[in-house]
Symmetry: C2
Subunit: 290 residues, 2 copies
């Protein structure tokens, strides 16, 4: 018996969770039919194909989070300004009719305060609430890393660092990347050098080009460039946004990189939460408020 | 009568100058046969085609600066560590035989001090000496902007900001760029907003993503994104490396952008030197020391 169907519907992937009455995940499915691969008219069909057999066909609640609610998704669920909690997200959810009953698209969250740098998130809010952190700093590393301040179970403020996207751009399209052997294994020494130098420079701006200079001067090998660059960017992110203590939410490999960088920064007590588990729990929490 | 032939041989372009005995440029030529477009065996032929008729065929000195001396150029002229002056550059020049006599390839310059961020330049050293600034901070904006400290006519230290390359990467390949109307005219208001916000944040890291957030939140139009992004990056460069007073060397449009950003930073007395004129005078100065 399915009590709730939850879908984390991102840009490139889709992860679906089937919950029983206690909120336990009794089945999961994933596919590569992310929002960026679909036209507006495809979403209903993909939903039915993916989770149709979990539904009773009409009354099983369905919660959809992530880029499914973006301008180029199924339908746009506008950003809610901070502060935001699960009840507020659920009540502002966008109802869409599907062949297996109504579904609710979770809105994104925005920072629009006059004295803040504007930012938006979509999908991370669901992970955040699933992680169950009521107060403190939470970091979700990724393509667009989020640094989120939680207070009393609400998202009250956040900033975004484009660390993952910058890394991919620089590795794949820049003059730095031309010198890199991108097939090389991760090198912790080169990574740590990048972190330490950026933390000391307090900026990535004078630091990035050293990935090129050090190769031309023979100080770094092509096999070190990608790890060094990763260290510069993660060090720059922690240097700009870091304070402690913090909790990390994400995939194990990325979380481990950030833990290493946080340790160099001087923060050793970093709690971690698995990203997949968090999003499933978050979908359940929002579903409970429907 | 040609006293010296000087060539600024960059990655994508080549600019050649014919000097009379007083050091005046009596003819200039340019082409798109930059170092990146040529194989090692092509350089001699391109040199003869471009300036062969300026030479007496054997004794007219030829000075070549820029990427012609890089690892992928004609022949590698290794970087000279700071401090460096024109006499030192000339004496360390790499002699290559050509069908119109010997030519000297000007070495690049490096920063390798243990407490400094490593950096390299190749071509900018010639512009710097041509600008005739003996002491102070000199900024050469570009793909890889150089911030150079001159003391007693020597390059003693410098740092590099990848501002131009980051701008092109972000505009052409990133999720920010997807929201930009890149055909729009420069918008000084959006540019200034980017500069001010980055100077206030003291980092580009939490700031870059706002180019996306502001469009999604309706605060910026697609026609503003490129100018805003340019402001963020130039503001970040000045925020990280700025101090005054400074001299700017470069193409008029880029110099004008940096003057606008420096004014927002609070520095209004920025001297400027045209980049083309500077490189010609620098080639002459190095030639005088041959």
């Amino acid at each position: 018996m399915t009590r709730l169907i939850g879908v984390d519907w991102g840009t490139t992937n889709l992860r679906a969770y089937r919950f029983d009455g206690s909120g336990a995940v009794i089945e999961r499915r994933s596919s590569t039919r992310g929002a960026a691969t679909l036209g507006r008219e495809d979403f209903a069909e993909v939903l039915v194909e993916t989770v149709g057999d979990w539904s009773d066909g009409a009354t099983t609640p369905i919660v959809l989070a992530g880029m499914v609610g973006s301008r180029n998704g199924w339908r746009e669920a506008p950003y809610l300004p901070c502060p935001v909690d699960p009840a507020r997200l659920a009540s502002a959810g966008l109802r869409v009719e599907t062949p297996i009953g109504a579904a609710v698209i979770v809105p994104g969250v925005s920072v629009t305060a006059a004295d803040a740098i504007p930012s938006v998130m979509r999908g991370e809010e669901t992970q955040l609430f699933g992680a169950g952190i009521r107060d403190g700093l939470v970091v979700l590393p990724g393509t667009h890393s989020k640094w989120v301040t939680m207070q009393g179970g609400k998202i009250v403020d956040f900033a975004t660092a484009m660390t993952g996207e910058l890394y991919a751009l620089l590795r794949d399209h820049s003059l730095l990347g031309q010198l890199a052997d991108t097939t090389a294994a991760f090198d912790e020494t080169a990574f740590g050098l990048g972190v330490r130098r950026t933390l000391a420079a307090k900026s990535i701006v004078p630091q990035l080009f050293s990935a090129r200079a050090d190769v031309l001067l023979g100080n770094l090998g092509p096999q070190d460039v990608a790890s060094y660059l990763s260290g510069i960017l993660i060090g720059g992110e922690i240097g700009a946004l870091g304070r402690g203590p913090a909790t990390l939410i994400g995939a194990p490999r990325l979380v481990s990189l950030y833990r290493t960088a946080f340790a160099i920064y001087g923060l050793h007590d970093i709690a971690t939460v698995d990203g997949d588990d968090a999003v499933a729990r978050g979908l359940w929490q929002i579903g409970e408020h429907l």
